[in-house]
């Protein structure tokens, strides 16, 4: 991915992520998150992960976020003053976050144990990240996890229905 293009995408991503946590209206936060997820899907495309990009849009941006929007509309949440915590907590949160980012940057750029060259190789097989490649792995090496995930989704569906049901009392 061209550095200028990456810089643009990174700036947009950070801007929309900040918009998620700083907006007053919950609907606008949700929409900013949709934009973030969509931009991430585009970044996935540039990283040769086509199936994941499509799944990100279908599952995350197209289903999970719709669920969020439904709940916000159902509970009819209006704009609220961003109910921020007290100043001390705010300061502590920002401090810890910047510490984390600094540590991550130091670890990544500085003395990380060598994993070979750090430049990403341009040559990658044509079907890397394609549906066939990921699906083959899913159905051979990760078959048990795949099936368990299916059961997990079933449990989640039943649980969500039971929890959100109106008590007929």
């Amino acid at each position: 991915m061209h550095p200028a293009l990456f810089g643009t995408m990174a700036a947009l991503l950070v801007a929309s992520a900040l918009s998620v946590i700083l907006q007053r209206s919950p609907i606008r936060s949700a929409l900013s998150l949709v934009v973030t997820l969509f931009l991430l899907a585009v970044v996935f495309l540039f990283l040769d992960a086509q199936l994941l990009a499509a799944l990100q849009v279908i599952v995350y941006a197209g289903a999970v976020m719709v669920l969020f929007l439904f709940v916000i509309m159902l509970l009819n949440l209006q704009e609220d003053r961003p109910a921020m915590a007290k100043v001390a907590v705010r300061g502590a949160a920002a401090f810890i976050a910047s510490l984390f980012v600094l540590a991550a940057v130091r670890f990544i750029v500085g003395g990380a144990p060598s994993t070979g060259t750090t430049a990403m190789s341009t040559a990658v097989s044509a079907d890397f990240g394609s549906t066939e490649a990921v699906a083959t792995l899913l159905f051979t090496r990760f078959l048990l996890a795949f099936e368990v995930t299916g059961v997990l989704l079933l449990v989640a569906i039943v649980g969500a229905v039971v929890l959100a049901k109106r008590r007929l009392v």
Binding site: S25, I27, R28, L31, V34, Q50, L51, A53, A54, L55, V57, I58, A61, G62, A63, V66, L69, F70, M73, L74, S130, T131
Partner: protein, 363 residues
């Protein structure tokens, strides 16, 4: 490099123009077709010096001018940004979904072989499903941003309906993908070029009749057309989730409806009716099963294929318009029951059956 960019731009512009004209013409077909079915005359007042141009004046001049010159009203208390954003978000995915629908095989100009598909993605179907998923946001936002209880109701109903029928549609598509073994729509269209038994064109509907019916039903439900148009509920919710929109924004919501008819028609054509395939037409001419041949230059072959695609798409658009004016509306609980308790199990069973058959034939 610039030639490739130029070719891509030309393809994009062609498809864009095609889609937008289709939407306009479908509006006219809807009005006149419904008039014919209901034994009345329909819209006949727009004419220039008595020249009505068979509806062209109405479609190209009168209707757009009417919408463009109307006042743009944003209801008090509504979120201005979201109110303006909703029609754009609604329209974007349905236009962009056309990018993967192939309208021809190849066009050979000199040594350059141009694939007649705007975006040759190897995840073609998933891209279309992704755009369909994004279409829910226009409805949700339109309902919410109107600051109107009934619009909100229409919006919630509409989005619940859309996400319910996405499942049936997706599973029908899974069966189609298993039959053709590829997610790319151009590969699917090409795979329907063989002849069954030497005589019958091997179109998808012969392999997957049930999936065709399921996909057509789910597609009509996705675009919220009658008989699934309770979110729009013309006699109950006025216009449902786009009641509070006027002028250009209303035109965008309206056009999205017609463009989505085109998308569903294009997808049905590509999956089940051979896409751009003309029976017995190979890349160098006609090869009839009784031995006769008619060799044609490549450009004529390409034009025949594009024409065949357009005819099939128009046919399915017309079918959807007919269905709209023939069937009564489904009540909301009937609609949801149909989607979850009928379409979903049937498409699951169809996918299972297809998997068994494909395995049996391979092994």
């Amino acid at each position: 490099m610039w030639i490739e960019v130029g070719i891509a731009v030309i393809k994009t512009l062609t498809v864009l123009l095609l889609v937008l004209s289709l939407a306009g013409i479908l509006g006219w077909v809807e009005r006149k077709g419904s008039a014919l079915i209901q034994d009345r005359i329909g819209a006949n007042r727009a004419s220039i010096f008595g020249f009505a141009g068979a509806g062209l004046v109405n479609t190209m001049a009168a209707d757009p001018l009417k919408f463009l010159t109307k006042e743009d009203i944003i209801p008090k208390g509504a979120d201005r940004l979201l109110h303006t954003l909703a029609p754009c978000v609604n329209m974007f995915p349905v236009i962009v979904a056309f990018a993967v629908i192939p309208f021809g095989d190849v066009l050979v100009i000199g040594e350059r072989v141009i694939n007649l598909q705007v975006a040759p993605l190897n995840i073609g179907i998933l891209y279309v499903l992704a755009m369909m998923s994004l279409g829910v946001y226009g409805v949700v936002l339109g309902g919410w941003a109107s600051n109107n209880r009934w619009s909100l109701l229409g919006g919630i109903r509409g989005s619940a309906q859309m996400i319910s029928y996405e499942l049936g549609m997706g599973l029908a598509v899974v069966a189609v993908v298993m039959t053709f073994g590829s997610l790319d729509l151009q590969a699917m269209a090409r795979a329907q070029g063989h002849l069954i038994g030497g005589w019958i064109p091997g179109w998808g509907v012969l392999y997957q009749p049930l999936a065709f019916l399921i996909f057509l039903c789910a597609g009509i439900a996705e675009s919220k057309r009658v008989p699934f148009d309770l979110p729009e509920g013309e006699s109950e919710l006025i216009s449902g989730y786009f009641t509070e929109y006027s002028g250009l924004k209303y035109l965008m919501f309206f056009m999205t409806d017609f463009i989505e008819i085109g998308v569903v028609a294009g997808l049905v054509t590509t999956f089940f009716f051979g896409g751009w395939q003309v029976p017995y037409l190979m890349s160098d001419g006609f090869h009839f099963p009784w031995g006769a041949q008619l060799l044609l230059p490549q450009i004529v072959v390409a034009l025949l294929q594009i024409g065949s695609f357009l005819i099939k798409v128009l046919f399915f658009c017309w079918v959807q318009v007919l269905i709209r004016w023939s069937l009564p509306r489904l009540r909301y609980d009937q609609l949801m029951r149909f989607g979850w308790k009928a379409l979903l199990p049937i498409s699951l069973a169809n996918a299972l059956l297809t998997a068994i058959v494909v395995l049996a034939f391979q092994g």
